[in-house]
Symmetry: C2
Subunit: 392 residues, 2 copies
């Protein structure tokens, strides 16, 4: 029998953080140890805030630090991973950040368990095999249509059959400016590629603002419009979906538990549910959502804009769902994100991404990268050091 | 024109925090200053985690510290309060804890604005008058039915016409043990009082577990069963509601934005929606939910288990809704919570609670209490002190 002997959080960041929609500029890396076994995970979260949620003093019986529910727990089987997640959710019910913090821990627990049982994670999840996924190149819109055109042409030259453009000024300017951006992306990709557009919640819940952009999206044959609204605005999603002809709606990356994703699946009229395993509480709830989406005939897609470790984690939950064939593939990640792992999930000759068959997540951490970008953090309460950046 | 010149967070805690469901054992107090004007608010949140979310370094354009969206902003009108909240939600989209942190800031902004405009907050919210509310005494179940009986008898002697028992062992033991607790509460209160039961999400989403407790709740003529499930399990709520005869369901305190509460109102079959202004993002979204609940014929109730400052804040959003007449009234709050304000909202001769007619929230802070329970916190990142407990 093994118990969790240590959980260490490492806050990594680029020297300069730019005020753009690039989520790969920092990273909260999680290392879990159980005797001789080690697993790695990653939270898609504000690192300092998640560190605080991991070490904070208890407020009451349902607002307890994440650490209290994890360190010392038994970890022998997949049931233990689920039990630990349930414990964190119950004991940290009123600790909002806990879901983001749990995410990286859950991922690390699956990695650890896979290594210990000599199985890739997807097989521990019950998937017989990992179907290859078709990656879409995920990039930010250019500052101008000309820049977007050039980005799209470069993606086409790299052989991607699908690409997503998002954030930047999209949705903030005029309807015509947004249309110009979308058409530039379509022109650069050519007629054959799948084009996806990510509005990054820019219209919050403003149905009319979204409806005004639909004609350009339809005429550019966009496969999905992603996050026109915030995750909670489920009714606005459903009403917009009712006005779409060929365009489908995608959303859900903001889900920090499986319940939120289920609400979007049940009531949002989505074509695609996008789950970030680094936010929803890890691989465990992500896998539950993938199963539910499949039953509801909504297509599951990973949300990943950071490291290859996160990419591997994000693909495990739906590895066995053959028809859910697309995957997000970050193409402009920071040197930190690109350098975090020795392995990289490259496209094969057919242009597809395959999960590693090695145990766990199949990724090893480049400790030089960790040392290079490691932030030095100290949190002291009443003279007691609750957190100090651990040695690597 | 005024700008927000300072926002200070004070982490207060009792010397000993017990592992029970008493949320009044600590407190994150917020002070906002705009030139000569000062407002006070409170987050119902893990204090250390919310402090971190207030000062954390930027991760990307949608994961920015709460402070960045607040300090320096204009605060002249009610529209400014709404604008600041929208800004925090947009700039901290991926910073999960931000909603809890914003809550105390929004409350403090309303208090500040009320003082500056010499109006009680409820009037700034558009309520012509503040209707008195009927307080229910809110306490934890005793460890045994005999203890619960004694608690209920004491509440009756104090003249409360309604009381809520919650948490403790309720829902964790056998169906018979839970029934004994509920009947003990009814016996102690007498036949005339309204009895409310709070399951504290104990069954997560287990419909059968909840159904098994219904007969005892019906026979004890319980007005509402609160939080049988976690906030996200909206379908389970609706299905349980379909099996209730006279008992109504109550829930929603976990809502950390208005969207979550709206989902519960629209799809959960609730009789009562319970909103904690210290969690949902403050008085602003709580007021939106109160209006929506009223339209949907769901009764709005405050959720408050901490200080009198939080109690005043929690009553403002539905002060003008005459038919929404119940209010939660914490009866076992800690010395910290009881001593935080000079004023106390006591029952009048008719046994009802009336909001202060003084400007803002009508509560003044006892600085001696703040000094007595103040926790000393330091957060340092790369040699830079991002937070140090401010002087009071």
């Amino acid at each position: 029998m093994s118990r969790i002997t240590a959980v260490d959080l490492f806050y990594l960041a680029m020297p300069e953080i730019r005020d753009i929609g690039d989520g790969s500029q920092d990273c909260l890396l999680v290392r879990v140890e159980a005797g001789p076994y080690v697993g790695w995970g990653e939270c898609e979260a504000s690192p300092l805030t998640s560190i605080a949620s991991f070490v904070c003093p208890m407020s009451h019986s349902a607002c307890v630090s994440v650490r209290d529910s994890v360190v010392g727990q038994r970890i022998d089987s997949v049931e233990d991973v689920r039990r630990i997640g349930d414990l964190v959710r119950a004991k940290s019910l009123d600790l909002l950040q806990a879901d983001h913090t749990l995410s990286g821990i859950d991922i690390a627990l699956w990695d650890l368990l896979g290594k210990r049982l000599s199985e890739p994670v997807y097989r521990l999840l019950g998937h017989e095999r990992a179907w290859p996924k078709r990656p879409y190149a995920s990039v930010l819109f250019g500052d101008t249509p000309a820049e977007t055109l050039a980005k799209a042409q470069a993606i086409r030259q790299k052989g991607f059959a699908a690409a997503k453009f998002g954030w930047g000024a999209y949705g903030r300017g005029s309807v015509q400016e947004d249309a110009d951006q979308v058409h530039a992306a379509r022109e650069g990709l050519g007629e054959e590629s799948r084009l996806l557009v990510d509005a990054g919640t820019v219209w919050e819940s403003d149905l009319d603002a979204a409806l005004a952009r639909l004609p350009a999206l339809e005429s550019a044959r966009v496969t999905w419009l992603e996050e026109p609204f915030v995750s909670g605005a489920v009714d606005a999603y459903r009403r917009l979906a009712g006005s779409c002809r060929r365009v489908r709606l995608a959303g859900g990356e903001g889900s920090h538990n499986a319940w939120m994703a289920r609400q979007m699946i049940a009531h949002g009229g989505l074509g695609y549910i996008q789950i970030d395993a680094g936010r929803i509480g890890g691989i465990t709830p992500a896998t539950d959502v993938a199963r539910d989406a499949n039953s509801a005939r909504v297509t599951y897609v990973n949300h990943t804009f950071t490291t290859q470790l996160a990419l591997s984690a994000s693909l495990q939950p739906y590895a066995g769902l053959e028809l859910h064939e697309l995957c997000e593939y970050p193409l402009e990640a920071s040197p930190l994100a690109c350098g975090l792992t020795h392995e990289k999930l490259e496209r094969d000759d057919a242009g597809q991404i395959r999960l590693p068959e090695e145990p766990g997540l199949g990724m090893s951490i480049n400790l030089d990268t960790v040392r290079r970008y490691l932030q030095d953090v100290t949190i002291v309460v009443n003279g007691e050091t609750l957190y100090r950046t651990p040695a690597i």
